[in-house]
Symmetry: none
Subunit: 200 residues, 4 copies
DNA sequence: AATGAATGAGCTTTCATTCAT
DNA sequence: CATGAATGAAAGCTCATTCAT
């Protein structure tokens, strides 16, 4: 029976979550490879076997963390967007939600950054990014159709906006910037002007 | 005698470069940790002793690669900027030069991405980014003083621009976008509008 | 209370048998060491506790399987031999019964083969073989006394016959030979000629 | 570079042989699985890395040992057979050579016995046995054509002879029989009578 | 300068066994 | 009787680094 098929009790579910959270923090702090399984299980005070009761491998653990994070982010974004009346409003809400989530989950953000650099995780990250770009592009396209911004490559513009967001969070994560409302407002403004500016 | 102090012959210099280039390619492809020293020396067909003749450690090798890359990028940027008549022109040239360099050195770009995720290299990357931000901020400040864009946090705007650039290159590196002139123009335009848009 | 002393209910007896049969099949297929206790209990859909309720250890399980098999084989042989009028007839019946049993219990046959290669089980197998040799030698000795075959080392001849039988079954087990009546007849004939041939 | 492709120096060749011999002895004594790599390297007083410098895995080591043994046995058999004038003589010489070799290489003999019981090695052993059967069958067929023994299934008879040989050696290995000339003569006689007896 | 061999700490992973429920 | 969770020793293996030649 593969670990993944295991039916977990309440207690088991909690252990699994505990492992994922602790590991995510360590991976984000020290890096994935430099963090050993021994360190993780010692950190939460259990035997090594516990780890392999819940995950097939250290690699599988990271994948699970990444997948969870991706799912959660997407859920937040969608929730945030729903109340936007106009395309531009939805875009803005989407950006804000993304930044907010990333700032609140810096560990996961970092893990995604790392995962993109390692062959065995790259593909997964890519797929997630494509989904995010497509999600954002939908609204940009709508704004174009509504004449709010000039027609153009919606996906490309989406990527630029994600770029601003990503880098902003990166700086926050690295302690270079504090994620105040003013800063987030500036980023949003930058993006919106970048997008609409194409009009002229 | 520390390796770093060693005076190298012509041939030695070439070996060192060969090692750095091969390693950079592998690190970029597979990741730093998953690439072993053995793999590197086998890849260029020499014994392990060669590696440790030129570098103190695998870690030192990556540091050397990163430092070299940073130095080179900065040199290109400065060269590109000199002929810009106005602050805005200099900003644009800087952006273009950065994108150009990164697209031409995707391996090094990737290594910087990785280095930011690993505790032992993070500090170095940060310092480099700060330098880049400061370099760009200088020109933004000048533009502000010249009234070309509204006053504001120059460093923040610089970071947004770097964000657009970084993400664009990331997509190129990942094969999601092709770095055509049109795309680069769009990115530059996005940045300039994002920056100047603040005026209104 | 040692597991072995436990009085089992009807249902308990069945569970125990089920474990032994399933384990025997796996051990024969994959080898004893490569088969884990987890695999066995998952295979029959019970928890690990069940295993240790019926057996003290994985080792004890194999010993139990081997002992059972040995007991069963011996019973069959004795039953087969009783109706033989002459020593030679009894020998022939014994050989046939052994081959028949082994062909019908290839898993157990394989386990004996393995057990002979592992220090911790070797002694048990040896004792079993000695019993088998002694059993067969009795009839050979009788044949010698009856003048049906030349005097000689009865135990040695018995071993040769067991060798033919063992190897034949081995080939059957390995799918090299099909255990048709013709093949078994040939084996019996080979043995009888080998034994009686000594006369001339 | 796979370990197997490694060019070894004189010293390296010796180490490799030393590892194979020591491991063969331990595997034969305790069994393959119960013998750890740590035990082997400690036994010859080297670091763990040495093992993996010469072999890809513990499994690969056993395969190498088995292949070597098989090659050696076959060489001996062929050498022994060449001077046999008649088919029957060649058969006899082949049997004697096989027994002799096995008795002189009880460790390897035991390893083959084990290998046949473990899924991951079984196939290799089988192929070796098929070769041996075919080799022997050639001469039996010749004897049949020469009218020295009755026509029949040569391969089957070959297997019976190998069975006698195998079991004899097994008993020697297990200390049940001493491999005196008399015993070997008896085995040979048993086989020859078993084979020729088919005539009548 | 260079090589092949060696080192050994430390890694990921397995698994027989135990135990609270 | 039975389960899922936990244990932790020990396994196989890796790899940065060193060293004799």
């Amino acid at each position: 029976m593969a670990v993944v098929d295991r039916k977990l009790t309440q207690r088991g579910e909690e252990r699994r979550t505990q492992l994922m959270e602790f590991a995510a923090a360590r991976f984000a702090q020290k890096g994935f490879h430099p963090t050993s399984v021994a360190e993780i299980v010692e950190g939460i005070g259990v035997g090594k076997g516990v780890f392999y009761w819940y995950f097939d491998s250290k690699e599988a653990l990271l994948r699970a963390i990444l997948a969870d994070a991706q799912r959660d982010l997407r859920r937040r974004q969608r929730a945030a967007i729903t109340d936007g009346a106009t395309p531009m409003e939805r875009i803005e809400r989407g950006i804000r939600a993304s930044i907010q989530w990333s700032v609140n989950h810096t560990d996961h953000f970092r893990l995604v950054q790392f995962a993109a650099t390692d062959e065995q995780f790259r593909a997964g990250v890519l797929k997630g990014q494509q989904v995010a770009v497509r999600d954002a592009a939908v609204h940009i396209t709508e704004a174009m159709e509504a004449g709010e911004i000039a027609s153009g490559d919606a996906a490309l513009l989406a990527q630029f906006m994600i770029g601003v967001h990503t880098y902003l969070v990166l700086q926050v994560v690295q302690g270079q910037i504090e994620a105040t409302d003013a800063v987030i407002d500036a980023a949003v403004s930058f993006c919106l002007h970048g997008v609409t500016g194409q009009r002229s």
